[in-house]
């Protein structure tokens, strides 16, 4: 795995949670993702497509509790249900991650899409066949969650 292209996603995720949400993250070891391993674990995912001289996607997937806690912190009041604020919060977080990563990967002239949000208890995501997906776990005081990075041809896998 070419960590050169994974580290920017780790740094950007830590940065957005520190500066925007106000909590520290502890990143775990990135690994090749096997979709069946995390079935039914996630309740909301924020997705940004990456285009340019590299093609791929970055996804943040959270279980219900950390998603609601993060949203509550950003909104400034307790959010108890999966409303538009959760969509907004998760979308903005993945947007900032993708935008910040561009600084460390300028050679690819990445263009980022608007975020898409998938909500649903225990939802799963389907990935493009033949393009590796790297799973990056993060631990926080609000609970654990994951960032997934899938980049065609450059991850060295």
């Amino acid at each position: 795995m070419n960590v050169k292209y994974i580290n920017p996603f780790i740094t950007a995720t830590q940065n957005v949670f520190q500066e925007f949400v106000g909590i520290s993250l502890t990143p775990g070891k990135p690994s090749i993702y096997m979709p069946q391993e995390d079935a039914n674990k996630f309740d909301v995912s924020g997705i940004i497509g990456l285009a340019g001289e590299v093609v791929g996607v970055v996804v943040i997937s959270l279980p219900k509790i950390p998603a609601l806690k993060v949203t509550s912190k950003l909104v400034g009041k307790e959010v108890k249900i999966f409303d538009d604020f959760v969509t907004d919060a998760v979308g903005e977080i993945v947007n900032i991650i993708a935008g910040n990563v561009k600084k460390d990967m300028e050679e690819f002239k990445i263009v980022i899409s608007l975020p898409s949000i998938v909500k649903g208890n225990g939802h799963t995501l389907s990935w493009i066949s033949g393009v590796p997906v790297i799973k990056i776990p993060f631990a926080s005081e609000y609970g654990d969650f994951f960032v997934f990075v899938s980049l065609k041809d450059i991850l060295g896998i």
């Binding site: 940065n15 957005v16 500066e19 925007f20 950003l74 909104v75 400034g76 538009d84 604020f85 907004d88 919060a89 979308g91 903005e92 947007n95 900032i96 991650i97 993708a98 935008g99 910040n100 990563v101 561009k102 600084k103 300028e106 002239k109 990445i110 980022i112 608007l114």
Partner: protein, 122 residues
């Protein structure tokens, strides 16, 4: 002084609004819009003295909004600060070329935003 916040994230609009209120801008002088088209409607019906604009938004994005406004005589010199996640240098150059007055990369701390805004509030 009327300030228009343009961002598709309601959370970001609220965060920026809170910062503006903390530095003394009255709530009645703060306008907000979720995209460039909605911003143009507000601009056409109000006198706006400064804009804080996101880049990536649906319908009409922030960069195109800046280009449209800089093409209008009445908005050629209006301070427009872009507040965006787009952190690449070529993005910053593109925004400057389009006519932004200043550029702030998200995530931005309130204290940093206040510092960026202060020269335009005097």
């Amino acid at each position: 002084m009327n300030i228009l916040i343009v961002d598709d994230s309601r959370i970001i609009r609220n965060v920026v609004k809170n910062v503006l209120e903390e530095i003394g801008i009255s709530n009645e002088n703060i306008f907000d819009a979720p995209d460039g088209n909605a911003a143009l409607e507000i601009i056409d019906n109000n006198s706006i003295d400064m804009l804080l604009v996101d880049w990536n938004m649906p319908n009409l994005n922030g960069l195109d909004l800046v280009r449209i406004l800089r093409g209008r005589d009445s908005y050629k010199k209006t301070p427009i600060i872009m507040i965006t996640s787009e952190a690449a240098r070529y993005n910053i150059m593109e925004a400057i070329k389009a006519g932004v007055t200043d550029y702030v990369v998200k995530p931005v701390a309130g204290v940093v935003l206040k510092k960026k805004l202060s020269p335009f509030l005097k």
